[in-house]
């Protein structure tokens, strides 16, 4: 599929998103909620670009992570309009999570160091990475969004239900702002409740029928150390599954 990216002619396979196409062309588009192993979500909106479809007069602003490349599409990733929008979004993020180094660095990278909005001090930026990892990759569906608008937050059903959590830690690993803490004491308690439970690596499909011999103290686990040091990723994500569907 032929399209134009920042004035240069490019080709990409049908179904590729504009974000992926731009990144493979070496163009940096900031995106917080996009992750290679997960379905696109369109929460952070930082990946906005201007696109002009064939035969259309005006360019439109779209989220590139959700927008598929089309024949004859003209994409601009750094117009003044886009830069302005991005800065505005970063100001909003900065107001929400002024304490998160990740947000501060990202904003500073785009020249945003101050925000005109009142500060909230919530490290969670609602990017939904944890929710999607838990659902799409882990398959546990232990956490999800609740409420809406300004009350929106990530939590387990009824606030306290943890029955589906396997304490794999993928959510904490994938969280860009470190808003999720693993409560190891509670994890251990959870696992000890009602006799012996399978090791989380068993639940993830790495081992068969293993019951933890380390008292569920994952920080002592060899598999864990190995993944961290060799694969530089969380085991659940190292086992990346080909689940990314081409979008029509």
């Amino acid at each position: 599929m032929k399209f134009v990216l920042n004035g240069k002619k490019r080709t990409a396979e049908a179904g590729t998103t504009v974000l992926d196409a731009a990144r493979s062309a070496g163009i940096d588009i900031p995106a917080v909620c996009a992750h290679d192993a997960l379905q696109p979500f369109g929460a952070c909106r930082l990946c906005v670009v201007e696109v002009r479809e064939r035969g259309k007069k005006r360019p439109r602003v779209v989220a590139s992570c959700l927008y598929p490349v089309k024949e004859g599409l003209e994409v601009e990733t750094g117009t003044p309009r886009i830069v302005k929008l991005r800065k505005f979004l970063l100001e909003l993020l900065l107001a929400r999570s002024p304490g998160a180094p990740y947000v501060r660095e990202l904003a500073a990278k785009h020249g945003v160091t101050k925000t005109r909005f009142s500060k909230l001090n919530d490290d969670c930026i609602l990017c939904g990475l944890c929710v999607r990892v838990c659902s799409e990759i882990v398959g546990a569906d232990a956490i999800g969004f609740s409420q809406r608008g300004i009350g929106r937050k990530v939590e387990s059903p009824f606030g306290i239900d943890h029955s589906r959590c396997i304490a794999c830690g993928a959510c904490a690993y994938v969280c860009p702002t470190d808003a999720i803490d693993m409560e190891y004491e509670r994890v251990i308690e959870l696992r000890r409740e009602g006799g012996e439970h399978a090791c989380r690596y068993t639940l993830m499909g790495f081992l068969s029928d293993a019951v933890c011999s380390l008292n569920y103290e994952c920080f002592r686990c060899e598999i864990d150390q190995k993944f961290r040091s060799e694969a530089h990723t969380h085991p659940m994500l190292a086992k990346k599954q080909p689940r990314r569907k081409a979008r029509a």
């Binding site: 929710v131 659902s135 799409e136 990759i137 882990v138 398959g139 546990a140 569906d141 232990a142 956490i143 999800g144 969004f145 609740s146 409420q147 809406r148 387990s156 059903p157 009824f158 239900d161 589906r164 396997i166 399978a198 639940l203 993830m204 499909g205 790495f206 086992k239 599954q241 689940r243």
Partner: protein, 179 residues
Amino acid sequence: MSDTGPVRAMRDVLSPGRAGAPASASEGVSGEGAVLRILERHGRMASQIIAILQDLQALRQYLPEADLRLVSRELEVPLTRLYAIATFYKAFRLVPRGRHEISLCTGTACHVRGAMRVKDAIERGIKIAAGGTTADMRFSFETVRCLGCCGQAPVMMVDGELVSRLDHLTVGKALEKYK
């Protein structure tokens, strides 16, 4: 969403027994049959989830946690998803209704005439926040946008009956007659 091997295996671990035959509509603890009948009526389709939750709420007056768990198990829809839907839409409630329902208008006219002070007074008086139900099930209290009689502002409805020209000093007295 397609399931790959380990994920599928883990789902079985997490909810054992789900692979078996679905429970028949007649058995089960009290009221479970009625919930299952709702599911049957909608063809047990996860895509009908909002209609199912609406019917469930019509049956129970609210969405009890136990019923949501049942729906989640039967339709293989994660409880997180149901909880997200139930908290997203204002039409769904997760707490039971009290014997008397108070709907306080916080629309523009009522707001200007002190509805927020009335709200505070009610909240202090019955000791629950808007959206809740008192522990003795006497009152449910919620705020609404406009009741359409701004000339009487500020107003509230108690059990469908209009109480108008409220103020924060006398609203407590107005609620006394509802036992």
